[in-house]
Every structure is written in structure tokens, then in C-alpha cells.
Amino acid sequence: MIELLFLLFAAVAVGAAINVLVQKHVLYSSLSLIVLLTAISALFVLMQAEFLAVINVIVYAGAIMVLFVFVIMLLNLPPDEGGVDRLRWLKFVGIPMGLFLLFMVARTVWKVEGTSGAPDLAGTSQAIGASLFTDYLLPFELTSLLILIALMGAVVFAKKDL
């Protein structure tokens, strides 16, 4: 049963990722990416990482993707003009090479030993919070600095007279 759920959400994730790549307009791409994020969150739930599943939906699908969609609509983009000439043949090389790389990576990770038969660690907000505010307190505080810098950078870059 749980394997079926995994296969369902994995298929949704891969399908949405392919759809992100083949769509002509970036708005449809970003909407498809939201589907991908939802599928990833479902996979997190299957792995007992409930806190991250919720955070993934709220922060990624809720904040970051809304920012993307907002900017796409703000810019009023012209339709995609297609690739420049010198790149016309690139995908006929790139896709086989990518598939080859996927094959090599998959062959390697297939050999990874499954770990102990213990049940999955529950990633509750209690467990994550306890770790975040003790062992990882300094990195956690530094991320707030990072967010502040990114905020100021975004304001500066989006100014009118850059």
C-alpha cells in the first residue's frame, strides 16, 4: 500500500518536473513546479518528516512560488522567442548525455545498503526545534542575517535607476 503511494507521488513528481521543462510559457512552468513541490511534501510525509512537509508547502509553494508567479505577471513577458541558433542541436546531445549520467548515478545509488531495520525517525516539530535551538543555534542565527542581506539586496537590485 505504502509502496503504491510512493510510486504515485514519484510519478507525479517526475511528470511535473518534465512538464516544467517542456512548457513554453514560464507561468505554466512555475504552476507545474507547485505540483512538484506538493508531491515532494507528500513523500516527506511518507518518510515521517511531517514538519518539513508542512514547511515545504508553506515556504516553497506558498511564498517562493508566489514570488515567482508575481514577478512573471509583473513583467508582462513576451512569448518565448525560442532558442538561439547555435543551441538548436544541443538538446540532441544533452538529453542522451543526461540519460547516461542518470544511468550511472542510479547504478551507483542502487548499491547503497539499506540501513538498520529500525522504523523511520519521526521529524516532528519538537525534535527539529530541540535540535535547531541547541546544536544548530549559531547557523540558525546566521540564517537570519542571510535573510536580511537578501532582503536588502533585493530592494537595491529592483530599484528603478540601476
Binding site: 518518510m47 518539513l52 514577478v71 543526461g98 539499506g114 525517525l121
Partner: protein, 100 residues
Amino acid sequence: MIPLNWYLILGAALFLLGMLGFFLKRNVISLLLSVEIMLNAVNLTFVAFSSRNGQISGQIFVFFVLVVAAAEAAVGLALVIAMFRNRETLNVDRSNLLKW
């Protein structure tokens, strides 16, 4: 229980798709979206290893990856706006001021 390998292969496939998109697409926003796909693939692998090995650190890392992704999206989209304002296009091949 789902084998760990299934998650790893799904993560590898998603990462490869994101990488293909990053190399093949020409639109700046598409490139940013491809980066998001790659970040999610890595997150999936982190969580898979974390919950299977019984260590919470991997999930903390995913938390930090989320923070960095948010910062990256904010700055990247501000740059996209600046680029569109100056060049009237989002095609990365047309931003070639530094090329001779």
C-alpha cells in the same frame, strides 16, 4: 517499508531533470525554476538518509536549504526585474555585454 534506494533514485532523476533544464533552457526564470527542482531533489535525498539513519541533522539541513532557496529566489528575481528593465528580454544568450 519503502527501500532507501527508491528515494535515492527518484532524487537522482529529479536532479538530472533540473540539470537538463538548466543547460537547455534559455529563459532566466526557467533557469531559476530548474535550480529549484535540483534543490528539491537534494532535499528529498537529505530527508531519506536522515529518517532512515535515525539522525535529525539531515532534516535541519533541509531547513537551511529552504532558507537559502528563499534568499536566492528573492535576489534572483530582483536581478531578473533589473535585467528585463535594461535589456527588454530574459534570454540569457542576449545578455552578452561582457563577451567579446
